[in-house]
């Protein structure tokens, strides 16, 4: 499905494109942060809530989006993922807690975020087949 957008033959081009897509994803994340920072500042509220938003929802959702919708643009993936992450992040934590891990703690939540970011990078580095 990805063959039209990412050439399987031009390895260099493909690598550059993958790098660009990672950067574009990062750009979306930073855009979210900046936007939220502006709104947060204007409202006089704690900025930390937006880090939380990214950790709990954005990154797991983005990982899911990149896997499920590889032919979408990075913007589309980021938007899809950020709100699908509403379910993806918390449900992981719910199940961790269910099997006895006391997971409503920053350490576990950050773990989910780090795992998701690693997955995103790995997914983008994986060579696409035709």
């Amino acid at each position: 499905m990805n063959a039209e957008k990412i050439s399987p033959t031009a390895v260099g081009q493909s690598f550059a494109l993958r790098c660009f897509r990672i950067k574009e994803n990062a750009l979306v994340a930073v855009s979210f942060l900046v936007l939220f920072w502006i709104f947060t500042r204007s409202a006089g509220q704690a900025f930390s809530i937006w880090y939380s938003f990214l950790a709990v929802m954005f990154f797991p959702g983005l990982l899911f989006a990149k896997w499920a919708l590889p032919d979408w643009s990075a913007w589309e993936q980021a938007l899809f993922g950020s709100f699908v992450g509403f379910g993806a992040g918390p449900i992981i934590i719910y199940y961790l807690s269910y099997i006895g891990l006391h997971s409503i703690q920053p350490m576990y939540i950050i773990g989910v975020a780090v795992f998701s970011i690693a997955g995103i990078i790995l997914l983008d580095r994986k060579p696409k087949s035709a």
Binding site: A46, I49, F86, A88, I91, Y94, I104, Q105, P106, I109
Partner: protein, 550 residues
């Protein structure tokens, strides 16, 4: 930066800007402002309490001690998304859960708009047209739920956010039933189950039927079943807990009788009742559009029509005949709108066809434009309808009344017992306290003792008042192993000595106001002190707790 990226940025700014500034401007710009979340319903209050104990205890199974039940290992059986999300955000940000639900609702609202934008953009390929459709489909929904009018409003938001995203994956699965697309759909459908199980299951069932109808020549039965199995697998741990609540709970409590009140659609005590304003809720026409897609893609209306009639039969006809069951009737009131959708779509389709058929001058008009006009008209009527809802009534509080209740939360210690005369679902404001409310429908346990107290016939018996307290009532699973449970029940409504309360709230009431006032005066005579007085209420501190307070 190319034009496409600029369009995206513009749309994101538009949605977030409208949502955030629109929502928070009127609440002094506070993003985490709790007003007007948790107004008026025991369910949101209980969810807030559940999430608070999850955060405090770092676990998702524990009975909040302020429910005064004190049973550990109780499994949280409500939609986990609502509990986990706010617990997680609170854990990371340090913002109180009480404040976070409203914030999460607003984020969900932005997500709903963006989801519909993505969906229609993929359908139509025109970003700005999709943006307009997205805003039309999401704004009235927000308006309708903004004041948290209905018990279960959180669920509405969380269910709604998944509809467009699920449809996107559904479309992909239909167009290319690859294993990945099937798995992606199944996973998201399973996650959606954790938003509000009944709705999600029904919706997924509807979508799968749509798949079989519209694309039966292409669909591979085995793959459809596998998508369903993946959904079940993802949702299984939660589904087991939920199933225990529904089925074992029914046996344990013995109170889940066949539908007990056929007045579901008429009684104001059942919300939402179906009337002109809320019949045209955005949810209704969101699915009307889906229904149109069904009809456009497949000329035969037989199967979707049968399906629609089936769901309407379950939610409307069976209750009217006195036949039904708790989770098929009371719980499915949220689904009513969903299942009326295909019928609404058929109506719109028929009307549009009739107009173009019988008015020759209009025959050349694109049917899609006629649909668009109908949808826009529905949106306008819906917005007008929700805007007409009073901002201060039995189901909604004015800002002043809200400030009173917030004062109680800020000025009473955790775990204190508050008895409120004349409150309507006041407990939503005071999670982490035990809130007792007299139940005025009960002549014997409540009204008679109230009259006795007001008249000065104070006895140990008359001080025993029929009251209900915050939290769950009957039938919830208590964990005994990883996948084994026993059911436990508790009667939340019972006769209790009013003097066990630490605080009394006395509000105005058209029928019982003078009775409350008389009781309040007798409490003052017994050494209670007024700690707050406002236009709406007196708040008394009981200085004779456990003794003769009245």
């Amino acid at each position: 930066m190319n034009k496409e990226s600029l369009l995206w940025i513009g749309f994101i700014l538009l949605v977030i800007g409208i949502t955030f500034f629109g929502e928070y401007r009127q609440y002094e710009g506070k993003i985490a402002h709790d007003y007007p979340a948790t107004i008026n319903a025991a369910d949101p209050a209980s969810r807030t309490s559940d999430a608070e104990i999850a955060l405090l205890d770092k676990r998702l199974y524990y009975e909040p001690p302020w429910y005064a039940i004190g049973i550990p290992e109780r499994i949280q059986s409500y939609a986990p998304l609502m509990l986990v999300l706010v617990s997680s955000l609170s854990s990371l940000s340090g913002i109180e859960i009480f404040d976070l639900y409203y914030f999460v609702g607003v984020i969900a609202m932005a997500g709903i708009a963006i989801g519909w934008f993505l969906y229609f953009r993929k359908q139509w390929g025109k970003p700005w047209l999709a943006a307009i459709a997205a805003l039309i489909l999401s704004y009235p929904l927000e308006q309708f739920n903004h004041y948290m009018l209905r018990i279960g409003e959180y669920a509405n938001f969380f269910v709604a956010i998944f509809i467009p995203y699920l449809l996107i994956l559904f479309d992909r699965m239909i167009k290319e039933p690859s294993w990945k697309n099937i798995a992606a759909f199944g996973i998201l459908a399973g996650i959606q189950f954790t938003t509000y199980p009944t709705t999600a299951v029904m919706l997924v069932g509807f979508l799968l039927v749509y798949a079989l109808i519209a694309h039966r020549s292409k669909m591979n039965w085995k793959k459809v079943i596998i998508a369903g199995l993946i959904m079940v697998l993802v949702a299984a741990p939660y589904a087991i807990v939920f199933g225990q609540t529904v089925f074992l709970g029914k046996k344990a409590a013995g109170s889940f009788v066949l539908f007990k009140d056929p007045a579901l659609l008429r009684s104001p005590s059942y919300e939402p009742s179906v009337d002109f304003t809320n019949l045209l809720t955005p949810v209704l026409y969101v699915l009307a559009i889906l229904g149109i897609f069904v009809l456009l893609k497949k000329p035969s209306l037989r199967l979707p029509a049968i399906l629609s009639v089936f769901f309407v039969f379950i939610t409307l006809v069976l209750p009217a005949l006195g036949i039904g069951e708790y989770y098929f009737t009371t719980r499915t009131r949220y689904l009513l709108f969903v299942f009326l959708y295909p019928l609404a779509a058929i109506g719109i389709f028929t009307a549009a066809q009739a107009i173009t058929q019988f008015i020759p001058q209009l025959r050349h008009i694109d049917k899609n434009k006629v649909f668009a006009v109908f949808i826009a008209a529905l949106a306008v009527v819906s917005i007008m309808g929700v805007r007409a809802i009073s901002s201060d009534g039995p189901r909604m509080f004015s800002k002043e009344k809200y400030q009173d209740f917030l004062w109680v939360r800020q000025n009473t210690p955790n775990d204190s017992v508050i008895l409120c005369f004349g409150c309507q679902q006041f407990e939503g404001f005071v999670t982490r306290r035990i809130v007792l409310q007299p139940m005025y429908w009960d002549q014997e346990k409540t009204i008679q003792p109230l009259l006795q107290l007001a008249q000065g016939n104070i006895t140990n018996e008359s001080r025993m008042l029929g009251t209900e307290y915050t939290g769950h009532s009957t039938g919830y699973p208590v964990r005994t192993g990883l996948f084994t449970f026993k059911m436990s029940g508790h009667e939340s409504y019972a006769k209790r000595d009013i003097c066990i309360a630490d605080y009394f709230i006395i509000m105005g009431n058209p029928q019982l106001g003078e009775v409350f006032q008389a009781i309040g005066n007798r409490m003052l005579a017994k050494n209670s002190t007024v700690i707050r007085q406002s236009q709406y209420m007196f708040i008394l501190k009981n200085n004779n707790k456990g003794g003769e307070c009245v």
